[in-house]
Amino acid sequence: MIFAASCQPASEPAKPTLVSATNTAEILCLAPISGAAPDEPIARPHVDSTSANAWINRGRAWVLHARLSADPGFYLNVGACADQALSLEANHASALELKALVMMNMHDFAGARDLAASLVKSHPESASAFGLLADAQLELGEYDAALSNTQTQLNLRPNMAGHARASYLRWLVGDAAGARRLIVLALQDRNMADAEATAWTFVEAGNIYWNMGDLAAADAVYAEALKWVADYPAALAARGKIALAQGDHAQAIEWLSQSLKIRPLVDTAWWLGDALTAQAKTSEAAGAYAQAEAIGRRGDDLMLANFLASQKRDLDQALRLVDDDLKTRSSIYVHDARSWILYRMGRFDEALASSDAAMRLSTPDPKLIFHAGAIRLALGQREAGMRLLHQAVSLNPSFQANAVAEAKTLMSADAAPGLAAE
């Protein structure tokens, strides 16, 4: 995901922020950014309240903090600063960009797209506005428009963010070689002053190699991310996945646990459960899976739905979650989740329609391809189904333990339609 927030842990519990009551936006914007140095006295920062730029700078500091802390709640602070700036200058472009960013993080992708679209009209020189527009369009499934706007962003300012976004888009449309070339360009543009963004770009690069099944290269790139931000949770989780794929279960458990502690995500807990299962630690694995579900229930509907589908339970609820998500975005991953839930429910015709929507870009993601293959097999399209299953497993023979096992079962057995769904 291009827009994945990333994080750096606060080593100690932060103190609450104490401010004098004025109005809520001001309270949130001016709350001291704490956590990095918890023993420092907390003081209300000085911001020139008559300067929109001062509020925007404060908002940008909150953006960085949100990314480093992995706490999306800090986007409330970002939005509050943007509102303060907009109360001074109603059309301030940078404040509107912050607003669009907040909308993205609140999953109001259509709102973010519309705001960013109006920004690029009024400020056609703003590369970051084109980047925001492309990100929103990505989530909305408007891939052609996202490609075009990313190209404009690169034409205006060929930097790390633009190249990374372009790389991801090239991969989405099935151009793995182009994606690799662009991610290398992104890393050549890395910014020493923005370690987190660089670490994130390394993780994105690693993901390309991971999806291609080149585990050694992926691991090396993830390790590089950790040199930029030690304990970078996305990189730790990714290395955990690779360790699991390579059979080093103890190392996988260590890295995944470490990542989960810093940044509790459904898929990290899920992978940890898989790693613990592989080590026959059944009760601990059950705990990790329960944690995955609990995290999902606190706001990550799409991942929760994916998780429930993998567990073959609460499928009606999973479908409801995904259908709700589809009201806000139409990315291939939402369609893929829907297809897999429907497959689990035995509604193969509907599953195929969703799978076709998920596969419309020919994205070389083994999980998507595996789902597409299993669905076709269930529908009696044996040749197409087997071809896709083979393709998924040959792309990355260890993309997810349970899924690979299921794919191999389907391939080896002369499976009757719907066998895996039972």
Binding site: S20, N23, A25, D71, G73, H107, R298, T328
Partner: protein, 357 residues
């Protein structure tokens, strides 16, 4: 709670809605709490957006419509009160103070209010308060704790990795200052309650005789005082989802009636039942302040006197203004019709907004 704190609830709930259709968005929850420390206890009133409360306690939303009705709240109240007593952990001198959920109320703007009391074994110079619900609420939830300290009101922004704050008994817990604050709040409530003001305007717009006007205003006042008391004491608390649209309809109705009625001698008969409806709205406002039970009667009286004083103030300005305007032929000819039309439009707009929104 003082007036700035009360205003803050409105701002907080507005922020909760942000710019996103609530049902579709992945909003980051924001709740607000008012905290008052007494010599040996803490009283807290916390308001959540209802969808956030459902995320934490899905059992409330029995029919799965992502909203909480009064019936659903009543059905879950007993179990919820027990569960929510642990929403906060309060300690005095490192000893836990037992908590009790005193009230659960649906509030305006899709809020759910929780009133808690933590009674400590002995008086303390300070308390540690921890908001203990973060692990049940959506990731990133923020809680704005408005704290009446010894000097001024402060706001603490609490979140998952910074969930607690210290609190010392403050001046605000004194009864005298509460009475003044609630009286002022009563005035402020009527002066900023545009729907009530518009209704009042509609009620007196066509009145020309002072005696009739006194009857009408007295009947309205009597009506809303009765239900205000019933609602504030918690004896009769109809769902705001019903009362608020009804208030809007009374406004539209009075505007329509102004086209057909020239003599308001009998309007008191309408003003009284309409006053009953408006009184539930006032009562809801007082409940939202989370006044402790043992201070409720004095609070009710203070707030009500404030409301009546505010209403009187409005009438003292409005009535002479209307009499003066009637001296102009154009106003005499068109004024009532134009203003009544606007009142109808306002009433209907509020009605649809409150029903749909």
């Amino acid at each position: 709670m003082n007036s700035s704190g009360w205003r803050c609830i409105g701002i907080v709930l507005a922020l909760l809605i942000w710019n996103v259709p609530a049902a579709l968005a992945h909003t980051i929850g924001l709740s607000s709490g008012e905290y008052r420390a007494g010599p040996d206890r803490i009283d807290a009133s916390i308001i959540f957006a209802r969808d956030e409360a459902i995320a934490g306690f899905p059992q409330i939303d029995r029919n799965g419509d992502k909203d909480i009705s009064q019936a659903e709240l009543d059905e879950s109240a007993a179990a919820l009160k027990v569960a929510l007593a642990s929403a906060l952990v309060v300690q005095a001198q490192s000893v836990d103070c037992p908590g009790e959920t005193r009230a659960l109320t649906l509030t305006e703007n899709n809020g759910l209010q929780l009133d808690l009391r933590f009674q400590c074994a002995q008086a303390s110079a300070g308390y540690l308060v921890r908001f203990a619900l973060f692990d049940k609420l959506t990731v990133g939830h923020r809680h704005l704790a408005h704290v009446q300290g010894t000097q001024a009101q402060e706001t603490q922004v609490l979140f998952e990795s910074a969930p607690q704050f210290e609190l010392a008994p403050g001046a605000a817990s004194s009864l005298g200052s509460s009475i003044v604050a609630l009286f002022t709040l009563g005035i402020e409530h009527i002066l900023t309650g545009y729907d009530h003001l518009v209704f009042l305007l509609g009620l007196v717009l066509i009145g020309r005789h002072i005696r009739s006007l006194i009857w009408v205003v007295t009947a309205f006042t009597l009506g809303h005082m009765i239900t205000f008391g019933l609602a504030a004491l918690g004896w009769l608390t109809p769902d705001p989802g019903i009362i608020e649209p009804l208030i809007a309809l009374t406004i539209a109705y009075i505007g329509v009636e102004n086209f057909f009625v020239r003599d308001i001698r009998h309007r008191w008969m309408l003003a009284f039942p309409f006053g009953l409806i408006h009184g539930f709205g006032f009562g809801g406002a007082l409940r939202e302040l989370g006044v402790p039970q043992d201070e409720l009667l004095s609070a009710l009286i203070s707030f009500n006197i404030g409301v009546e004083a505010g209403q009187l103030l409005v009438l003292l300005i409005l009535l002479p203004l209307l009499w003066w305007l009637r001296r102009f032929a154009i106003f005499a000819k068109y004024g009532t019709a134009v203003i009544s039309s606007l009142i109808v439009v306002a009433g209907l707009s509020w009605f649809f907004e409150r029903v749909i929104g």
